[in-house]
């Protein structure tokens, strides 16, 4: 074993990152550092029982290029229970590499590729721990984009990634949506409400808006409301509810002042024919009415109106990619919500802080 001294200052972490771990399986902690200048790795072992660290060259990674470039490194016993190892991810090609000390040098092995996740070094949090196995460290990350957690466990060959649950996306604002149905809530109606809500929840969460499901109420047996199952919405212009809308929207059981109530009706009749949805509501009683339609983002569209969004222009034709396209024929679904539209919804007086 060759020993060295006179490395200069090891406190210069920008040039010489340092890690602590039992890299050589001796049962004691070692000091590992990498020198940016020559791409050499050095391992400092504590002599027993006392004395200076004994330094040995632990390899060179010039073949990888300059790896101290901002890419992440983690230390853990990823594939071997008896020793700490070095794991790094390279955003350039999404490859993972594992360095394991063989008693002489770090031996690097390919530990998989996560291009299928996209470029994951984007600020999302990563954690190292013995999450699923007591004998080895695993990688865990959370993706705020979809709220999913993924666990990477080394199988002796590569990291294998498995879905580990969903805790939702982070949010800036939230809304609560209740359903009240004037048609009997059959399985089909329930499926319609669930599907519409999930589509809206997923879409709005990408804009930082959490959508919480409130109560569901079956109003179909109320004789006073039976004639409203075919609801007259007039021209359906915002701020101009009809008398029938005024009557219906008074039904806000369980809904707070800022909560939105969605009324599921049989048909919406207005000036130019039947509507699929209408977001016109009386002041102080926010909500919308929709019919059971095979238009997945209908509810999101109408709630978008309630949160102050307006239709996108008919031209260019690619505007059909947007949620606020005034037709059920959205393209490139799920539809888009532009940044200004997201800001409008976040600033709505009906959304509240998360």
């Amino acid at each position: 074993m060759t020993c060295y001294s006179g490395f200069g200052s090891l406190a210069d972490f920008g040039q010489r990152p340092v890690w602590i771990g039992d890299f050589d399986a001796s049962g004691r902690a070692d000091v590992l550092f990498y020198f940016v200048g020559d791409q050499n790795w050095w391992l400092g072992r504590p002599p027993a029982p006392t004395g200076p660290l004994a330094w040995s060259l632990a390899g060179n990674t010039v073949g990888f290029g300059q790896i101290w470039d901002g890419r992440p490194f983690w230390i853990g016993n990823f594939s071997r229970a008896d020793r700490a190892q070095v794991l790094f991810y390279y955003p350039g090609d999404d490859n993972w590499w594992l360095g394991s000390h063989d008693g002489n040098q770090l031996q690097w092995s390919f530990a998989g590729n996560t291009a299928g996740f996209g470029h994951i070094w984007d600020g999302r949090p990563f954690y190292v721990g013995n999450f699923g196995r007591p004998d080895r460290a695993e990688m865990l990350f959370y993706y705020p984009g979809d709220g999913n957690w993924w666990l990477g466990s080394h199988d002796g060959n590569q990291l294998r990634w498995s879905f580990s649950g969903n805790t939702g996306r982070p949010c800036s604002q939230s809304i609560r949506v209740h359903f009240k149905s004037l048609i009997p809530i059959s399985n089909a109606v329930r499926t319609f409400m669930d599907t519409q809500f999930l589509a809206m929840e997923d879409l709005f969460s990408q804009s930082g808006i959490a959508t919480y499901r409130g109560t569901t109420e079956d109003l179909s047996a109320d004789p006073a409301l039976q004639a409203l199952v075919a609801l007259d919405v007039g021209a359906c212009t915002l701020g101009n509810p009809t008398q029938e809308q005024n009557t219906l929207f008074q039904n806000r059981n369980n809904a707070g002042a800022n909560d939105l109530v969605v009324y599921v009706v049989q048909t919406l009749v207005g000036g130019a024919g039947n509507f699929v949805g209408c977001a016109t509501h009386p002041a102080g009683q926010p909500g919308a009415a929709v019919v059971q339609a095979n238009a997945r983002w209908l509810l999101a569209h109408e709630i978008g109106h309630v949160l102050d969004l307006r239709h996108v222009a008919a031209a260019p034709a690619t505007n059909s990619d947007f949620l606020m396209w005034p037709n059920t024929g959205w393209t490139n679904v799920p539809p888009d919500v532009s940044s200004p539209e997201a800001t409008t919804m976040l600033n709505s007086g009906l959304s509240v802080n998360c």
Binding site: P223, A230, V269, G273, N274, F275, V276, G277, T328
Partner: protein, 155 residues
Amino acid sequence: MTLSLQELHDRLSAIEPTEEIYAGIDEEEIPALEQLLQFEEAWLASRAAYALARVGGARAAEALGKAAEDRRPEVRIAVADSAQHLPREVSDSLVAGLLADGNAGVRKFALRAASDESGSEVRRNIEQMANEDPLPVIRDEARQRLEQLGGTSNP
């Protein structure tokens, strides 16, 4: 140029329709509109009924007559609500029948489709609704409608 079924479908798929969506739809589109009347989605079939009423003519009236007997209340409501666009002899026939429909929504919009020009059969049916409709709210509206139309059919 005649619109294809798909083009018509797309045109009529507005979430919140305006009169513009019916522009350019005429007799040539009636066969496609008749197909749309059979679409599973009731709201789209209803939209076809509104379009047919705006096209007018004997064939459209015939299609609307069939639509007035559609099993789906949404479609029958569309026929009732669009009757205002039809000549009196056609609308009276449709409205008179729909006033006696088993669905409250259909009866409500048939009631609203009656006009000063409506014939005696329509007025008689409204009078009957004013006295016998199972829903109080419909009975009240029928009474108001009768007053607006100038009283009963047998003054």
